[in-house]
């Protein structure tokens, strides 16, 4: 499979997910790159983050990604000779906060496929960056996805999840959840 010189992050994500699926591995697009998939005009990323669902043998991943022109550069990281996007494979399992992610969305483009966090999970994931570290940029991305994919984001599920996280770790600030909903309502 050949990636064109002007391939976008989404093109790379579809291609990588497809070659890994053909090699028998399920890789799910997550992190900031999943946000960039849903709001490409608002959020750019040069890292394409995948978590391989079940721990894959490195040589299988190496061989699959080599077919796209990607080569291993460091533990869990692959680079292309000309494209600016780095493929990153954080160690799994797929989880947001304390909860494992066991379901995701699969989109298709012709023969290509992409496993990706649902919009609700992207909002949870980006919001958690803000919640844990106070990262305002991540809050903006969470809000952007929630606004752009309003029909797909389950805000009640999101709220219930924040309550479960708070039960487990009382040091999280409730005020940040309130702020998220306030900004979503007024923004």
């Amino acid at each position: 499979m050949i990636l064109s010189a002007d391939a976008s992050l989404v093109d790379v994500a579809f291609a990588a997910c497809t070659v890994l699926a053909q090699a028998g591995e399920t890789a799910v697009l997550c992190g900031g790159s999943a946000a960039a998939y849903y709001v490409p005009d608002l959020y750019q990323s040069l890292d394409v983050d995948f978590v391989v669902e079940v721990g894959a043998a490195p040589h299988i991943v190496d061989r699959a990604l080599a077919a796209l022109g990607y080569a291993w550069v460091a533990e869990g990281h692959y680079r292309h000779a000309t494209l600016p996007y780095t493929l990153a494979f954080p160690i799994g399992p797929l989880a947001i906060g304390r909860e494992y992610v066991t379901a995701w969305r699969t989109d298709r483009r012709g023969d290509l496929l992409l496993h990706v966090y649902t919009p609700t999970d992207v909002v949870r994931d980006r919001f958690l960056h803000y919640w844990a570290w106070g990262d305002r940029g991540a809050l903006e991305v969470a809000l952007a996805v929630a606004r752009a994919r309003r029909a797909d984001v389950d805000l009640e599920a999101f709220r219930a999840w924040t309550e479960r996280e708070l039960t487990a770790d009382g040091s999280y600030q409730v005020a940040r959840v309130t702020r998220f909903f306030d900004l979503l309502r007024t923004g």
């Binding site: 160690i91 906060g97 570290w133």
Partner: protein
């Protein structure tokens, strides 16, 4: 670190145990050199441990000036349980706890008597 240390390496090595226990005692994280000094290990050994733990998602680091501050990743899916275990294990490492107590992380007004 004492070579005759007979405490079990719960996380694989004594350095790894001490790094995690010391980080659990820190509110704002520590840079690698300070972390190494506090657990009486070499900066290189601690650096290697930190890289492995960061890769596993158990710790995170953030740049501060020309250095990086390392702290436990509260976003990690096992963070609450890990912290509880480290709090328990800290009891077996009184020297690490004692050094942590003496290490002040909060700002201190210039000129204030010690």
């Amino acid at each position: 670190m004492r070579r005759d240390d007979l405490r079990p390496a719960v996380f694989g090595t004594a350095t790894r145990d001490r790094v995690l226990i010391r980080l659990a005692l820190s509110e704002n994280g520590l840079h690698v050199r300070e972390l190494a000094r506090q657990i009486e290990s070499s900066a290189n050994a601690v650096h290697r441990v930190v890289i492995a733990l960061e890769r596993a998602g158990i710790v995170v680091s953030r740049p501060v000036g020309t250095t990086r501050i390392v702290l436990l990743n509260r976003r990690w899916y096992g963070a609450v349980e890990l912290r509880a275990l480290l709090d328990r294990l800290a009891g077996a490492y009184p020297e690490v706890v004692e050094r942590a107590k003496r290490s002040r992380e909060r700002p201190r007004r210039i000129g204030k008597p010690l």
